[in-house]
């Protein structure tokens, strides 16, 4: 018997977010998975065709509705719940989009949610981190029960492209509330790679000392490496970097090939966010800093001297 899985696509109206391709990989780990992806948008056509190209996707549901111009949880949840009937597993990414939306869907469906799925062991058995990643728990759902989940994107490779799933225009007949309204989003747009999906990340901590030093010290190096820029919570709290750069338990959980932590001491909440990085480099003047316990390559010294040298050598 195949397991029918519904994935909620994350996108910005024009482009599919890479978190969706990671959800597809997660879903594909379920034995005999039959994967459907729902794209809710004002006009879903562009995102739906990107979704249809993902390998492993059997079907794309394009849900056009003017109310979906901004992806608000209160607006989307009843539509997803209306589509969820035939599916045994309903997944979204564990990004702020999915974290906001999926529990609302689960409550409407009267089902439990499994958050931050990091491994699928069977159609009803999952593994997820708890206590900021200090423990891993195996969670089992009742056989036959519908389950909602969010996918820890750092734990899965993105599904490849080259597929050509059929796209079905689908009305999601649901009562859409008007009590929640989008006002604005202020995004620090950069030309740099996206932090969540970049293969290289240069990240700075409190030791940078100021917003100016943060920019001057890290951005040149990041540009040389073609890297995204991240920050510790301490650096964000101190105002050196905007909140969307925060890496860690309450920020972004990332899994780049190369993570360079500069002037970051390595609080456990930060380490949670970088555990899945392939190679971690730490540059810190305190040789006792906890970041060195997880670093593959450690360099003890003054970052203000080392980083410019490093930039020159690249």
């Amino acid at each position: 018997m195949s397991h029918r899985i519904l994935i909620v696509a994350e996108h910005d109206g024009a482009r599919l977010n890479p978190s969706t391709a990671k959800c597809v990989s997660c879903a594909a780990a379920v034995p005999d998975a039959e994967i459907t992806v729902a794209v809710c948008a004002a006009d879903a056509s562009a995102v739906a065709s990107q979704t249809a190209a993902l390998k492993g996707v059997a079907r794309v549901l394009a849900v056009d509705n003017p109310a979906n111009a901004h992806l608000l949880a209160a607006v989307l949840a009843p539509q997803i719940a209306a589509l969820a009937g035939p599916f045994s597993l309903v997944l979204g990414p564990s990004t702020t989009f999915g974290k906001d939306l999926m529990p609302r869907v689960a409550a409407l469906l009267d089902t439990a949610q499994i958050s931050d799925i990091m491994a699928i062991e069977s159609a009803t058995r999952f593994r997820r981190p708890i206590y900021a990643g200090n423990a891993i728990v195996t969670v089992e759902a009742e056989p036959g029960a519908k389950v909602v989940g969010t996918v820890r994107t750092a734990s899965f490779q993105a599904a490849g492209t080259g597929g050509s799933a059929p796209i079905e225009k689908t009305p999601a007949s649901a009562q859409i509330p008007s009590h929640t309204r989008f006002v604005s989003v202020s995004a620090g747009k950069t030309d740099r790679p996206d932090l969540q999906t970049a293969s290289r990340v240069v990240s700075g901590g409190r030791a940078l000392g100021s917003a100016e030093a943060f920019r001057q010290t890290l951005y040149g190096l990041a540009d040389r490496l073609g890297a995204a820029v991240g920050a510790s919570r301490a650096a964000v709290d101190a105002g050196y970097a905007p909140n969307e750069m925060q890496v860690g338990q309450t920020g972004k959980i990332i899994a780049p090939e190369l993570y360079i932590a500069i002037g970051i001491s390595g609080a456990i909440q930060h380490l949670t966010g970088i555990k899945d990085a392939r190679t971690i480099v730490a540059i810190n003047k305190d040789s006792e800093a906890p970041i060195f316990e997880v670093a593959d390559i450690g360099l003890v010294g003054d970052l203000f001297q080392i980083v410019p040298e490093l930039e020159k050598l690249l």
């Binding site: 209160a74 708890i130 423990a135 891993i136 929640t180 969307e244 360099l299 690249l314």
Partner: protein, 257 residues
């Protein structure tokens, strides 16, 4: 009465080093310092500030759990909450059960705003607030870093909230009709410290205990937690002495060409 309901959870203090039990049955919580979930503390602080600005008249704090969580409710009363509700429940309370329970409290208390942490730092689920909003059929504004209410100055009941949220793209602002559910992110505020005289005063504040069953909520456990393990450890790395050695090490790993 213009009332705010704040929901808190008793959790292992965030400074405690978490240890998994050798028999894989759970995480060691015996003899370990317990605290109010830090995100819920931020929720209470926000409610108290709204009250101090004059936009609310009463802050009610609620918790679901064993008798011990009355300690954390007393802490909240010492911080400034006016009264506390303890819903007695032993064993696992899944987020959907918590949300159903809170919905019953919402029906009783009729708050114009419910504030709670965006997640508890023990199970890291980040579900309860959203589920409550769904069951209540009211708006949700999760991961809030700023909360503004309309009509605060007029002294009337606020009808709208404008909430800035920390999202992956940056900061998003939503306008929601009240009542609504707000979940708090780290940068919303810095909770106040509790002063000794307030701890004394808190002992006299009302704390009501209710049985979960008396609210008509079934403590259903739908997910079995079958095995707890420590996370895999990373291999111990190497130390290099300068930037040139670092570049060489990165090249040898094939990370630089």
């Amino acid at each position: 009465m213009r009332r705010i309901l704040v929901c808190i959870k008793r959790v292992v203090d965030y400074n405690v080093r978490i240890r998994v039990k050798p028999d894989a049955s759970g995480v060691v919580t015996e003899g370990v310092k317990m605290s109010v979930n830090p995100f819920d503390e931020i929720a209470l602080e926000e409610a108290l500030r709204i009250k101090e600005r004059g936009a609310a008249e009463e802050v009610v704090v609620a918790s679901i759990g064993p008798a011990d969580c009355q300690q954390q409710l007393r802490t909240c009363l010492a911080m400034g909450a006016d009264r506390a509700l303890h819903v007695q429940a032993d064993g696992v309370v899944e987020p959907l059960v918590a949300a159903r329970t809170l919905l019953e409290l919402v029906k009783r208390e009729q708050p114009f705003l419910v504030i709670l942490g965006k997640q508890a730092i023990d199970d890291d689920n980040s579900q309860t607030g959203q589920m409550l909003a769904a069951l209540w059929e009211r708006p949700q504004a999760t991961f809030a870093s700023k909360v503004e209410l309309d009509g605060e100055t007029s002294g009337g009941q606020p009808r709208l909230a404008r909430v800035t949220r920390e999202v992956d793209a940056g900061l998003e602002t939503l306008e929601v009709d009240l009542p609504a559910v707000v979940t708090t992110d780290l940068r919303l505020n810095e909770p106040r410290y509790v002063k000794l005289p307030d701890i004394m005063k808190a002992k006299k504040k009302p704390l009501e205990t209710l049985a979960l069953a008396s609210l008509g909520v079934e403590q259903k456990q739908r997910l079995k937690l079958t095995r707890f393990e420590p996370p895999p450890q990373r291999q111990k790395g190497i130390k290099v002495k300068d930037a040139a050695e670092l570049v060489a090490a990165l090249k040898s790993k094939g990370l630089l060409s």
